[in-house]
Amino acid sequence: MTIGVDEFTERARAFLDASAAPAPDRAARWGEGSDDVGLFDNSADRADSPAVLAARSWQATKFAAGYGWITGPRDLGGSALPIEHDVAFSRLEDRYAIPDPTILSVGLHMVRPTVARWAQPGVRESVGRGLASADVVGCQLFSEPEAGSDLAAIRTTARRDGDGWVVDGQKIWTSHGHLSDVGLLLARSDPAAPRHRNLTMFLVDMSSPGVDARPIRQATGAEGYSEVFFDGVRVPDSHRLGPVGEGWQVAVSTLMNERLSIGSGRSNRTVDLALLMELVRRHGDGSALTRDLAARAYVAQRLSERFAASCAQEVLDGGSPGPRFSLGKVLLVESLNRTAELVDHVLSGRAVADTTEWGTYAWHLVGLEIPAYSVGGGSDEIQRTIVAERVLGLPKA
């Protein structure tokens, strides 16, 4: 007998009350604490960073209490509850001051469901459970220097060798690759097979000999991504996910989960709208132009959230994350652009030089981080093409 969502929510509230403090109202406490408004947790840049340890510890606490993988299968430590319960928990959790979970989001929302669905017995249990409890941090090894938007063009090879495989090649733009324990690796396993039938998915131990994950310094100065080199890396066949040659199908299921996670706003921080509007009150000139820009930013963010909520509802009603969810990212990027436009207007010189006033120059990060959304997870152009061809039915090029 499944627990009803109301009773579940009450129990979750009791758990959260006992385990975390209420989220601070930053707009009401202007000038207090950190004024970080970045969309990524740039302090989580090393495996032993306090931010990383805190995120893992909070996930472990949730997992032990039955909230770490609400929709997950019971044999992997999940609670096997409907997604409705998961959505209810997320909404509730937003009201508490919890460690930033974004460094775990690839592992939890992309690698974990892929492992649960495709991994072989043994690996499935150990890694699936490990990811869910954050004992294991996961990353995704898809993009390559010559295969960005054209993902099927990857060149990293996996060659049969005895009862295992040997991987050679290079991956890039791997979020948190240098602080991950396992990586979901898409490799070309058959040089002769046709496109989309020549790939196989693996789960790679990132501490294997021959794996070299090097952080990439971004325009923000942070090191959230890596490039990962593979030089004769041995992967046992037990760590293959799905059939040989069917890696594309496995990757598509992962990307569906990514789309759901990004589209429904669960993989990223969002702009604190109350704090943004407080910035306008404190530093704006009250002109009609400023008010209009503020309203535009407000509308764009609410539209993005509203659309995400409608996608979540669609899943609640039994739908699957279809191509329509690509719109979520298009709307999110639009919203971030409106925010950046507003803060630049309101802050003027303070947008590009730090006067040390609390909550001013900090906003520069939003503008610098937009490309992570407009490029990452499939560029805006890829999303528009998906929407045009697969939602609207326009012909392929």
Partner: protein, 376 residues
């Protein structure tokens, strides 16, 4: 979004859609544009007596269906898609919302049954020179007490369906109060003049009042009540805009698939498909905003409890206006030279987009009201 509709709402959508597919084709729309009051009285009677739609939001005790904003949104969306020519928005939405908001039991009893069955066509007269907008603060017309009632003198502009209307609900000042007055359209001292309009599917009139007899509805200052009425009407209008916008996207898609240049359908070119996809994103977002606002209006519409309703309503109207303006212009563009011919239906939607953008205030007006509510 299908998934948020109840079975009853889906049935209602289907019946309205089927009815409009039969009775409001673009050929019908073009015929109606040339009729004296720009609508077909037979179609109007069918909307009322066959479908009961004219009384959709009228309480059951006054002969209506007593349904809410979500149902209004469903119906208006279909009407927008079909570009229906009828005084539906003016009478069954705007006037009904105003009558319900001012809380005058006698006026409800007298006027709502006729509106519900379609025999009365009501509209709201609000904008005046010099502001010529829908801001209640810019209403200057003053009522003069006369015996039991009042008399009104002055000019109202942009009165939607002013020629078709049998009753005018005029916003004017009575002493310190802003108030709503009912004026018989055929009364002495009322002169209605059709304005030359860009959008022939939604006619507008100038109404000159010269000592016209007026019945004041409700007591006390009606600013809050009229604000509520304009707000709920704006949600319904936004639904109509979303419906028109969805049709524009569908028309663009259909044409882009069929029109061949350089040996391939133009819809296969990214420059064209991305333009259409971006418009679709804007429409989907506006649709989600309208659905949300309508649901909030059903739970909080009769009160001044904040509950996010004003914010949601202004977001809905501003985003639906922007989305329709964009996709209607894109639809003309995708059709190339044909798009700006009289023959092409895209121009009809473009003009509706323009007139809907102004009705109840433009996107910037709604963003300014939104900014007031956010407190910036």
């Amino acid at each position: 979004m299908t998934h948020t509709l109840t079975v009853e709402q889906q049935d209602m959508r289907t019946s309205v859609r089927d009815f409009l597919a039969d009775r409001s084709t673009t050929a019908d729309v073009r015929r109606a544009m040339d009729l004296p009051d720009r609508f077909d009285p037979a179609l109007w009677r069918a909307l009322g007596t066959d479908l009961g739609l004219t009384g959709l939001a009228v309480p059951e005790e006054h002969g209506g269906l007593g349904l809410g904003h979500r149902e209004l949104a469903v119906v208006l969306r279909e009407m927008g898609a079909a570009l229906l020519c009828a005084p539906y928005f003016s009478s069954s939405v705007l006037a009904v919302q105003a009558l319900l908001a001012v809380g005058d039991a006698g006026a409800r009893r007298d006027l709502l049954p006729g509106i519900a069955d379609g025999s009365t066509i009501a509209t709201v007269a609000l904008p005046e020179q010099p502001a010529a907008d829908w801001d209640l603060a810019n209403v200057a017309m003053r009522a003069a007490p006369a015996g039991d009632g009042h008399r009104l003198t002055g000019t109202k502009l942009f009165v939607p369906d002013g020629q078709a209307a049998t009753v005018l609900l005029v916003v004017a000042r009575d002493g310190d109060d802003l108030a709503l007055f009912a004026v018989e359209a055929a009364a002495d001292g009322v002169t209605r003049t059709p304005l030359e309009v860009l959008d022939l599917t939604r006619p507008q009139s100038r109404v000159d009042l010269d000592g016209a007899a007026a019945r004041r509805l409700g007591s006390g200052d009606a600013t809050a009540a009229l604000t509520r009425a304009l707000r709920s009407s704006a949600i319904a209008l936004a639904a109509e805009q979303v419906g028109a916008a969805e049709r524009c996207v569908a028309t663009s898609v259909a044409y882009a698939k069929q029109r061949v240049q350089f040996g391939r359908p133009i819809g296969s070119f990214q420059a064209v498909k991305h333009r259409i996809a971006e418009g679709h994103a804007a429409v989907e977002a506006a649709a989600a905003a309208v659905t949300h606002a309508a649901a909030l209006a059903d739970t909080h519409g009769d009160t001044d409890d904040d509950a996010g309703l004003p914010i949601a309503a202004h977001i809905a109207k501003a985003s639906a206006t922007d989305a329709l303006s964009r996709v209607a212009a894109d639809c003309v563009h995708v059709h190339g030279g044909f798009g700006f011919t009289w023959e092409c239906d895209a121009q009809l939607y473009f003009k509706r987009a323009k007139s809907s953008a102004q009705l109840l205030g433009g996107a910037a007006h709604h963003r300014a009201l939104l900014a007031d509510h956010i407190g910036v």
